[in-house]
């Protein structure tokens, strides 16, 4: 058999199996991407519910006050469903939660989902803004630095990134307030207007917190993207693309970035839990009526359903973002379908919340 005929034969056979392999790989990836977070979700929510139950100063007693009779307490217990076996309680609670019913506040009787529903968009809108900033600023800086590797711009970017990485977001936030609200007086130092209510005003209030939250992420993305790009730009396929006469911009965006974006995307995914944690502190600094404020308030009153609700929502957000990032990773790089690089939810939330990466020296 001639060389190419033999090749074609083998090729056809392997192409057939390749197609099957690829489908299997997709399926495996999908299963993996979803199943790990689901397991984690179940355990974390169980812990949440257990915490509530453990801490449970008897809510009936709290609600009814000091001189509640045992009978009245028992009645209220039954009403709250607290006299059923624990696991049953958990699953009932979880079931309700997944359909949007998070119970009612012990004190105000406002449904928790309503309160959370009002508070969450605040955090969400600002977090999305922060993400956009992080991607645009960080991405732009990373690309510029990689293209002009070794130049002053490159070194400046690297330096700034290491510097920013050591600064906790609350400091950045405060610094921004000082500069823009106190000295320049162009932006408000606190408060919030809903996005749907008035986009212009929303932006005024959301700009500073968004920037403050994005700083860490932008630095991390810039650093990672620069490193990945510098490596990727040396690859043969870049030369190949140039040899085909493809314009530089096209090569950069459609070819190089597509391949080099993986690690940067991972970084982005890891930043999302940091955003959540940073948001908690940012709410206080910028006087935003967000989920964390809700939780803090509920904490002072031992309002357990609200606390549980906020914890649940947080867990949900972290896990959903984890799934989203993993899906994006798979979409960007087909080799990722072979299961080489996905972010585990615990890695995603690792060191999350506050200022875990502050102090990371370059």
């Amino acid at each position: 058999m001639s060389g190419q005929a033999a090749e074609t034969q083998a090729q056809r056979e392997s192409a057939g199996t390749q197609g099957l392999e690829r489908t299997l790989a997709y399926a495996r990836a999908a299963v993996r991407i979803v199943s790990v977070p689901v397991t984690v979700f179940l355990i974390a929510t169980f812990a949440t519910y257990a915490l509530g139950a453990l801490g449970g100063a008897n809510p009936a007693a709290e609600v009814l006050g000091q001189d509640a009779t045992p009978a009245a307490i028992a009645r209220l217990d039954h009403q709250f469903g607290l006299d059923r076996p624990f696991l049953v309680q958990y699953f009932t609670w979880l079931g309700h939660a997944l359909t949007g019913n998070l119970g009612k506040s012990y004190f105000t009787s406002i449904p928790v989902s309503t309160s959370v529903g009002q508070a969450l968009p605040v955090d969400a809108s600002i977090a999305v803004l922060a993400l956009c900033f992080a991607v645009l600023i960080g991405g732009g800086a990373g690309i510029a630095a990689a293209l002009r590797q070794g130049s002053r711009l490159d070194r400046a970017v690297t330096l700034i990134c290491s510097g920013v990485a050591t600064v906790p977001p609350f400091i950045v936030g405060i610094a921004l307030i000082v500069v823009f609200a106190v000295f320049l007086k162009v932006l408000p130092s606190g408060g919030y207007v809903g996005l749907t209510a008035d986009p212009g005003q929303w932006l005024r209030f959301a700009l500073l917190p968004g920037l403050a939250l994005s700083a860490e992420g932008a630095a991390a993305i810039a650093r990672q993207l620069r490193t990945s790009l510098v490596g990727a730009l040396r690859e043969n396929y870049v030369l190949g693309a140039a040899a085909r006469g493809l314009p530089a911009r096209r090569v950069l965006f459609r070819h190089v970035l597509r391949n080099a974006a993986g690690p940067a995307l991972t970084v982005l995914g890891l930043e999302i839990p940091n955003l959540i944690g940073g948001a908690v502190v940012a709410e206080k600094i910028f006087a935003l009526p967000g989920v964390a404020q809700l939780a803090l308030q509920a904490g002072t009153e031992h309002d357990i359903p609200v606390i549980q609700g906020t914890l649940l929502v947080t867990i949900g957000v972290v896990l959903i973002s984890n799934i989203a990032v993993n899906l994006a990773l798979v979409a960007v790089n087909p080799q990722g379908r072979r299961g080489t690089r996905t972010v585990r939810p615990q890695a995603a939330a690792r060191g999350a919340a506050a200022q875990p990466t502050a102090g990371a020296v370059a």
Partner: protein
């Protein structure tokens, strides 16, 4: 099944801390070797210096402070830095410098407490997971995964909200979330070392179990634990400060760094530079701890563990190995 790569260490007679023919009894000498190498770096020296100052302040801050941190003086409110008060006064006329110094202890103790909880709660289960059977192992791993998903601050808020607002409660919560790190290294270390070839080789050569443990196991694990602890301390410090900032775990009027930041915020218009002070202090301390961790790690003897073998979940695909320092850097999975 786990792979263990240990960066090679020079064990030639000329290596620091060991003289000729010492390689057999190398434990104290080797540990000294690692530390000595780390100590030679300028960054380590600076970091240790800073931490030394912090430690002294933590222990004796109250006594060393120029003024009584609790003494209010409504006549001299919100003053800038000056002769009498080097860092000015706060909204109640209290000397900022004194408050800062006195608050060191509380902040540091909080962080130490959290890390201690994490260590205790993490190492034992980590080691146990290897010997108590598959079920325990699987459950423990899943729990660890779940705990690592929870963001520190939110969890602490929830826990203190449910169980009461005290420093200890908050630190317990944070400690619980730090425990997974120790769980993983303890487990990985034990797993890797019992199967590491040089342990087998040493056994073949007739070294006693105890000596193996001493020279190989401790000598290798200790730096690793040191690195993790330093990083955990930095993280814990930041979280304690954030929590104090939010009002959790504080007992006014006793000062802590985070709480100072919070009160500064209310008077930002009058004293815009005020938050910078505690903020810088927090940053510098955390930075020093991280620099220390980096130095120890870079000095060469810290093991990188391939964590992938630890996943016993059926769908555990070959994920990225997560080097120990991953917790700190955002892109640690790489």
């Amino acid at each position: 099944m786990s792979t263990l790569t240990s960066t090679p260490e020079t064990r030639s007679p000329g290596s620091p801390g060991s003289g000729p023919g010492r390689s057999g009894r190398a434990t104290p000498a080797r540990r000294a070797g690692i530390l000595r190498r780390a100590l030679r770096l300028r960054s380590t020296q600076i970091a240790l210096g800073i931490l030394g100052v912090i430690a002294i302040l933590a222990l004796f801050g109250g006594a060393l402070a120029p003024d009584n941190p609790l003494a209010q003086n409504t006549g001299a409110v919100l003053q800038g830095p000056g002769g009498a008060h080097w860092l000015g006064t706060d909204y109640l006329g209290r000397d900022v410098l004194s408050r800062l110094m006195a608050g060191t202890g509380r902040s540091v103790v909080g962080a130490l407490e959290a890390v201690a909880v994490g260590l205790v709660a993490g190492v034992a289960p980590g080691l146990a997971s290897l010997w108590l059977g598959r079920t325990f192992e699987w459950i423990a791993l899943r729990i660890v995964d779940a705990f690592m998903t929870l963001p520190y601050v939110v969890f602490a808020v929830a826990v203190t909200g449910i169980f009461g607002n005290s420093l200890n409660t908050a630190m317990l919560a944070v400690g619980a979330l730090i425990a997974p790190r120790y769980f993983r290294i303890a487990r990985a270390a034990a797993l890797g070392l019992t199967r590491a070839q040089y342990v087998e080789a040493a056994e073949l050569f007739g070294a006693s179990r105890r000596r193996i443990l001493r020279t190989h196991v401790w000598g290798k694990i200790l730096p690793t634990i040191a690195v993790t602890t330093a990083q955990a301390l930095a993280t814990a410090l930041l979280i304690v400060s954030s929590l104090a900032f939010l009002g959790l775990g504080v007992e006014p009027p006793l000062p802590t760094w985070g709480e100072l930041l919070s009160s500064d915020l209310d008077y930002l218009a009058q004293q815009p530079w005020a938050p910078l002070v505690p903020g810088l202090l927090i940053m510098i301390t955390a930075g020093a701890l991280n620099a220390l961790a980096d130095a120890i790690r870079d000095s060469g003897a810290v093991l990188q563990f391939d964590d992938t073998a630890l996943d016993t979940a059926p769908d555990a695909a070959p994920d990225d190995p997560e080097p120990l320092a991953a917790d700190r850097s955002a892109y640690g999975v790489l």
